[in-house]
Amino acid sequence: MHSLNWTSRLISRALRSSFSTLLDATTAGGAATTTTKGAAKPTPNRSRPRFVSVVCGFAKDNLRHKYKPGKYGEDSWFKASTETADVMGVADGVGGWRSYGIDPGEFSSFLMRTCERLVRCTHFNPQRPVNLLAYSYCELMEQKKPILGSSTACVLILNRETSTVHTANIGDSGFIVVREGEIVHKSEEQQHYFNTPFQLSLPPPGHGPNVLSDSPESADTMNFPVQEGDVILIATDGVFDNVPEDLMLQVLRDVEGERDPVKLQMTANTLALMARTLSLNSEFISPFAISARRNNIQARGGKPDDITVVLATVAM
């Protein structure tokens, strides 16, 4: 509750002072019409990078969850592309809410859908993915339909003007950047304690103090430049907990510099299927099992969970 109050006050003041949600579009439009007489574009097209991106995934419980675009079970993802930025994100709904009668997938799905809409708004800042998450989180307050629950989130923005990637990560979803066969950037898992990641949450009224609720400001942010051919993988913990890192690296190494979305899709499918198979395998020593043992919990086998894989390569 605290986090939400603070976040939305900050945002509302920022926007109130500019009142730019509506009017910037007109000034931008006005500028556009007067320069249609063949003026050169501000940035030459030659070096504007873009993502070639694909998605694949599996819901944990195939029987219960009919396939709906944009979500895999309780996980959800989004992709958006504008002139100035390419944005991707995943969110993993925390399953514990089911026992309260709340559908955990609703929160994560809403978060991602709103992020997608916000990317198109005039006040979208390609350099601050935390703001995107924060605005999206605030929009929850403005919905007539009450949306409760919590989820982790990971958002990645490619700023096409400067060829840099800005990321924000809350919780145990994350991303990996592979270049020339090596992992060059990796997100860190944020956990309060074992199997309890940082999460954005909106508890039912009255349960506020009992529920873990982290504010968007507590997100881990990273900024780094990217080059042509970099492979970026964003996934929920279903992948990172089941597929060991060297296996992931092997798969991702092969697709470096790939621009054909079909081949990219095949690799994403492979990765997702790998994660799924391993998660259902009860003998395999998964990364989840390893970290459980580090926490003195006897665990063995994979961790059945929703799997979402968003795979992209940078093309100039």
Binding site: R16, T21, L22, M141, E142, P146, P205
Partner: protein, 677 residues
């Protein structure tokens, strides 16, 4: 001709695709284009001389047909959501439709604040100033949108995704800086009452009414809405403007010819230049009395002696007042006061027209008693500084002034407004300046200094930030009974000091002010200084807490309380119970999306809300149909009950609730998003 040699191409005069090479310098480029346009204009007679232009209307047939969606929103009167949000706000009109053709209550659309007649039946309702000015379908809300390219409009399509039928007028802003009405709804267009039932099946629609044939060129539209026939909120997904594009040069021609016209008529300085049959006939006859000196006497002679003969000679209908026979009674025989009374029923435009009839009627129609109340809101498209100047001369006994919606594009200057106020504002009791874009710091200062007898002040949608607007002079006002600051940013300290100063305050509207103002402090101040409060609107005051609600319980005369979207998920504790026990006169209670309401609170509402007429419980989580039944049984005066998005009410209960609605004669709203997937 040297230009042709320069770029090396020979032009036959008819070909229009001489695209100049981009490397040619600018002047040649422009002249080439001009030559092209002239060729196109005069291809009929093959004359390539740039000086002879064929003034054909065919320039409208150039350009291509274009359909475009909204680029930006310039102004709106109200929206459901708060301005930094993208849910239920005006910004959702921008771009392509996102939900159409789906039908439902979606957050990705533009929703307005009110619906139906419910806001007319509440204690805070105040009648319109000079209501005779209003058309039969008055405008309740509007939105002004702009598009990217200028077009001559052929179609305006409005995508309505929920409760269609609210649009009453479509205006276009011509490049000659005038508003033209492209379409106006007649009473027969509005939805009939029997279709207003909650359960009539409705569909989303692409509403594209037939537009009047005009030759406006525009890229800015204004859509007017009227909610009185609507069952629930109406929601707009997108607006599309289709038309033919026009080249820049033709537009400049139009602007030039329009300003020439204006200068020609400027000497008569009339707001209404159409005139009646006599004036028109005089113009066509090029009638000019040959008087070199002493014009007035000669004209007077002429009118008294020769005019009737002149009229008969030219077969014009003689007006009654020129009839020489004195035996007939005519309008002018009535005493002055009776004529004044008759004219007091006229709207402002007719009053001005009456003034053009004769000297007598001019004297009557400019009498100050007819200008005790002045409203330019229905004439927002005609209001300008000159009109204000004219009115200032007549309105010496002005008490109520409504300049809402006027001066949107700079037609009213702040200086003129200040002059008007300084001349005529001393005795003002009611002042409404909703959505007035011309207001600046000194205007507000003038209001504060001059109009100290104000009982009602309405400054809705003053979007400019507090530092620029300098509301501090308003602290001078001490007699306010009604203060409306809907969607206006106001500084906390100033608001609190105004509350302290105006002890007789009865109606206070602070919708959407919850961001800039600390509502808990406001509530405490109200409880201390403004215990006469009858109505309070705190829509979207997210940070109001249970403490604030408890303070409000001390305003015992409260009859109307709008706490929609307040309190967030904060637990209310005992505050609602205290409020209900201490304010027995409550007639309207809106608790939309106050998610902290518990079942106990609902029981209290049922037992303590004896006088409740309108109750909004949208989005409350713990409502069950038993509680609904409780409320229906105990609140006997209930007329409106909004149970939309109450997810705890199961779908199968809805039929039962529909039956109860008929049984208890209560309008129960139950909209929700139907997940078809």
């Amino acid at each position: 001709m040297s230009l042709l040699a320069f770029d090396g191409r020979v032009d036959e005069g008819n070909s229009s695709d001489t695209e100049p090479d981009e490397l040619i310098d600018f002047t040649t480029l422009l002249m080439e284009r001009q030559r092209e346009d002239d060729c196109n204009d005069s291809w009929l007679d093959g004359n390539t001389d740039t000086n002879s232009k064929v003034q054909s209307q065919s320039y409208y047939n150039q350009g291509y047909h274009l359909g475009q969606y909204v680029l930006g929103v310039l102004d709106f009167s109200s929206q459901y959501g708060i301005d930094y949000s993208i849910s239920y706000t005006a910004a959702n009109v921008i771009g392509r439709p996102t939900k159409f053709p789906a039908y439902g209550d979606y957050p990705e659309t533009f929703t307005m604040r009110t619906y139906g007649d419910w806001w007319l039946c509440v204690p805070s309702y105040t009648r319109e100033i000079q209501s005779q000015n209003l058309p039969s379908l008055p405008t309740h809300d509007f939105i002004v949108v702009c598009f990217e390219k200028f077009v001559a409009p052929t179609e305006v399509a409005i995508f309505e995704t929920f409760n269609p039928g609210g649009v009453v007028r479509i205006w276009a802003y011509n490049i000659t800086k005038h508003w033209t009405c492209l379409w106006e709804a007649k009473n027969s267009d509005m939805i009939q009452p029997r279709n207003r039932s909650n359960y009539a099946h409705r569909d989303s629609r692409r509403f594209a009414p037939p537009l009047k044939a005009t030759n406006v060129i525009t890229k800015t539209l204004r859509i007017d809405f009227n909610h009185s026939q609507l069952n629930y909120y109406t929601e707009i997904d997108a607006i599309m403007l289709c038309g033919r594009t026009v080249s820049m040069r033709n537009m400049q021609q139009l602007i030039a010819s329009a300003s020439a016209n204006v200068q020609r008529f400027d000497s008569s300085s009339r707001e209404d230049i159409s005139g009646g049959p006599i004036t028109n006939k005089l113009r066509t006859l090029r009638f000019q009395p040959s008087c070199r000196e002493n014009y007035a006497a000669k004209l007077h002679d002429f009118i008294n002696k020769d005019l009737s003969q002149f009229l008969m000679e030219n077969n014009l209908d003689p007006g009654q007042q020129l009839n020489s026979s004195a035996s007939q009674n005519c309008l002018t025989d009535l005493p002055f006061e009776i004529l004044l009374k008759i004219l007091s029923y006229l709207d402002l435009m007719s009053l001005f027209r009456m003034g053009q009839v004769s000297r007598l009627f001019y004297d009557i129609s400019t009498h100050p008693l007819l200008y005790g109340e002045l409203s330019l809101k229905p004439y927002w498209h005609l209001a300008n500084s000159k009109l204000l100047c004219t009115l200032a001369q007549r309105a010496t006994m002005l008490r109520k002034l409504d300049l809402s919606w006027c001066g949107a594009f700079g037609e009213v200057s702040p200086t003129e407004f200040k002059k008007f106020l300084t001349q005529r504002g001393d005795n003002l009791t009611h002042l409404r300046l909703n959505s007035c874009k011309f207001l600046n710091a000194s205007c507000i200062e003038t209001v504060g200094i001059v109009c100290d007898n104000l009982i009602e002040l309405s400054l809705r949608s003053c979007a400019i930030d507090p530092p620029l607007l300098n509301f501090s002079c308003l602290a001078n006002l001490k007699n306010l009974e009604r203060l409306d600051l809907f969607q206006t940013a106001f500084e906390s300290e100033l608001l609190l000091s105004m509350l302290e100063g105006n002890r007789k305050l009865k109606h206070l509207n602070l919708a959407f002010c919850g961001v800039s103002v600390n509502m808990d402090n406001v509530a405490t101040h109200l409880a201390t200084y403004n215990t006469q409060l009858v109505s309070l609107d705190m829509w979207k005051a997210h940070f109001l807490s249970a403490r604030g609600l408890q303070s409000l319980a001390r305003c015992h005369h409260l009859e109307e309380l709008d706490l929609g979207w307040c309190l967030r998920e904060a637990t209310l504790g005992d505050s609602l119970h205290q409020l209900l026990s201490n304010c027995p006169k409550l007639k309207k209670l809106f608790l939309s999306a106050v998610r902290g309401i518990t079942e106990r609170d609902l029981i209290h509402i049922a037992t303590l809300g004896k006088n409740l007429e309108q109750l909004d419980l949208m989005g409350i989580l713990n409502i069950t149909h038993e509680r609904v039944y409780d409320i229906l049984i105990h609140c006997t005066k209930l007329q409106l009950l909004d149970l939309s998005f109450c997810d705890s009410i199961m779908d199968h209960d809805l039929d039962v609730i529909a039956d109860w609605s008929r049984l208890f004669n209560v309008d129960i709203k139950s909209s929700r998003i139907y997940n078809a997937r």
